[in-house]
């Protein structure tokens, strides 16, 4: 029998409540008793309400939201991580998504002073410092400039940061959910800088937000002139307030903290500012007590999103394993998957667009006979960088560097389909 459900309900209930996710999972299919004559499915033999009665008319949902049966697909936080919800983070439900685009409403949030609510008519962008002509732009000005559309991932440098000392959080939403991938519409920063006219000695820019954290970061000028965008739209509509409405920086492939939201000011200078977010935070403490700074690029990384602790295997026989991979250094060239804890690997099937500094989606379609699996994925990017194991990373960096944990993730799939975040040795 190939579609026999394998997890027993009690176990699963207990498991879900341990993970703090009771009610979030799907309902298990009922078990067909062997030997019984198959009964016709009443969902087919009886006329259903939605088949008889009229549904909502067109004006009921002027801005559509997902089906009421998708209510469990939400961002979640881990409240003990931070002191207050205004300086905190929640996580993208990666295990509920497919393809490469993250729907705007479930893009993870990280704020340092809450969500600034700004009327675009009241928003200004100032460019000053070492420029020929300090300028102020309105949103209208910015929307009159030539614009481009680009899909990029944004990963918080602290994504997976809780996992340095071993398996901690039971779900890819929590271990890997500080990432999203959307299409931005915006103006190349270079165009704005050209309007102000950079002085020849400019080496760094400082970007600053209009929120109550006044988030400020230093950005090397070479990156600013290369592929940085000043974006006003994501996924075809205005940015969401959580993501910096009405204007944010897009710094492709580099750590999320640099992507200043509610962007209101750019100052040109000849040295970095050493702001709190590039000294106290977002520096990587090494075992010798010194710390790396300016670790901007996000190394190649991947994670299997299904199966995963929040999305256990439910059936023997045919199954789809899927996940996402990305690299801050360019495109993903290949993703390898192992089912036996790294003894043997196979190249996964990448499907969908493969774009510069964007998520790619990968699949392994496989048959499962109920044996225990230790599943992992490893990304390889166009520069030949191969996603390392967690132990390989710890060998260089110890366990106190907080940021840039791109080590290979292991999920243990038990015989009943239950899946757990584990560390293997």
């Amino acid at each position: 029998m190939s579609n026999e459900p394998t997890a027993d309900l009690l176990n699963r209930r207990r498991f879900l409540s341990v993970a703090g996710l009771a009610g979030a999972g799907a309902v298990l299919p009922t078990i067909a008793q062997a030997g019984e004559a198959p009964k016709p499915d009443p969902l087919i033999t009886e006329v259903q309400d939605w088949n008889r009665y009229l549904g909502d008319g067109v004006d009921k949902r002027p801005y559509g939201v997902p089906s009421k049966y998708e209510k469990h697909v939400v961002r979640r936080d881990v409240s003990w991580l931070t002191a207050s919800p205004e300086s905190s983070v929640n996580f993208t439900p990666l295990h509920e998504l497919d393809g490469i685009i993250t729907p705007s409403g479930v893009c993870f949030e990280r704020h340092h002073g809450g969500i600034a609510e700004i009327n675009p008519a009241d928003h200004r962008l100032m460019i000053h410092g070492l420029v020929e002509k300090p300028l102020v732009f309105t949103m209208d000005d910015i929307k009159r400039m030539p614009r481009v559309n680009k899909v990029y991932f944004l990963e918080c440098a602290a994504n997976s940061g809780m996992e340095w000392r071993g398996a901690q959080l039971n779900g890819c939403q929590f271990t890997h959910g500080m990432i999203h991938n959307v299409m931005y519409t915006g103006v190349p920063l270079k165009l704005l800088l050209d309007e102000a006219g950079l002085k020849p000695n400019v080496k760094w820019l400082m970007l600053e937000g209009a929120d109550s954290a006044g988030m400020n970061r230093s950005l090397p000028i070479a990156k600013a002139l290369d592929d940085v965008l000043i974006a006003f739209a994501m996924n075809g509509e205005a940015l969401r307030p959580e993501n910096g409405y009405p204007l944010r920086a897009v710094i492709p492939g580099w750590q999320g903290n640099l992507w200043v939201k509610w962007l209101r000011r750019i100052e040109a200078g000849d040295q970095p500012w050493q702001t709190r977010e590039e000294t106290s935070k977002y520096t990587d403490l090494m075992p010798d007590g010194r710390a790396r700074k300016h670790t901007f690029v996000m190394d190649a990384k991947s994670v299997i999103t299904n199966p995963s602790p929040q999305a256990p295997l439910k059936f023997k026989g045919r199954n789809v394993l899927t996940g996402v991979a990305w690299s801050g250094r360019g495109t993903v060239k290949r993703v390898d998957v192992t089912l036996d804890g790294g003894r043997n690997w196979q190249a996964a099937r990448i499907d969908g667009p493969v774009l510069d500094k964007s998520l790619v989606r990968f699949y392994v379609d496989f048959d499962w006979n109920g044996e225990e699996l230790m599943i992992q994925s490893r990304a390889i990017d166009e520069t030949g960088y191969v996603q390392p194991s967690k132990d390989e990373l710890r060998k260089v960096r110890g366990v106190n560097s907080v940021y840039h944990n791109n080590g290979i993730q292991t999920w243990l799939v038990r015989g009943n389909g239950e899946t757990e975040n584990v560390e293997i040795g």
């Binding site: 341990v18 809780m162 398996a167 000294t279 403490l285 075992p287 790294g342 003894r343 690997w345 293997i424």
Partner: protein, 239 residues
């Protein structure tokens, strides 16, 4: 009217054709390559958008402070004065002695712990520049009432926080725009530029192993055994 006449008229009227505008840099086009060919980027031409920023406007927003002291406003303060302001405006979250209430950041202690199993990264133990304390408080503190402190109050608060880790020892020492940048922090030399492409060059591998790569793996740690339920205060911390 023929097409060429129309174009000539448009040009005569000073209508700038979109094709003349600069579009995107080379790297901008990298992503486009995957889908369609793009015309080569044009040399920069001013768009003439935006208006000059007035000196008063720049002054109102230009609140950043650099390690060389650029941006420090005129003003002065002492740790003694800062103590009083801190007790009034900061202790509710950071504690009377900067020890941190609940999960709010700790502002004191931590000296000499950077190599420890559990390092304490504080202003005194970790921050390389004293100017950053000024820049940060001026931007973001007190949390929930940003931009409410006077320049003098911030000098005093910086002096007080630096006195918590003995960077400033004399409670009456006057900190001002002329001497703040010269204050030396204990961990000033504790940072170096990102060197991953050298120190981690082993992660660039030509032929990663595909078959019989290791001995049978064993589970040595489990998330469910750690059991960090979402309201467990003892859990790990995100920065």
């Amino acid at each position: 009217m023929s097409r060429s006449v129309k174009l000539a008229t448009a040009a005569a009227l000073g209508v700038v054709m979109i094709a003349l505008l600069p579009v995107v840099s080379g790297a901008q086009q990298k992503q486009a390559k995957a889908s369609v060919e793009q015309p080569a980027p044009k040399p920069p031409v001013k768009l003439g958008l935006g208006r000059p920023a007035l000196p008063e406007e720049i002054q109102a927003w230009d609140i950043d402070v650099r390690p060389d002291g650029q941006g420090l406003p005129p003003g002065k303060g002492t740790a003694k004065l800062g103590d009083a302001i801190f007790q009034e405006k900061c202790t509710i979250c950071h504690g009377e002695f900067g020890e941190g209430v609940g999960r709010y950041p700790v502002l004191s202690g931590g000296l000499g712990t950077l190599k420890a199993d559990r390092p304490d990264k504080t202003v005194g133990s970790y921050w390389p520049n004293a100017t950053t304390v000024y820049d940060y408080i001026r931007h973001a503190m007190p949390f929930g009432s940003a931009r409410s402190l006077s320049n003098d109050e911030i000098y005093s608060l910086v002096a007080y926080i630096l006195s918590m880790s003995d960077v400033i020892k004399d409670q009456d020492f006057e900190l001002n725009e002329k001497n703040l940048a010269a204050v030396e922090m204990p961990n000033a030399n504790g940072f170096y530029e990102d060197d991953r492409e050298v120190s981690e060059k082993q992660f660039w591998k030509a032929n990663p192993c595909m078959k019989d790569c290791r001995a049978a793996p064993k589970v040595i740690g489990r998330a469910m055994a750690v059991d960090v339920t979402p309201d467990n205060k003892a859990g790990p911390k995100v920065d």
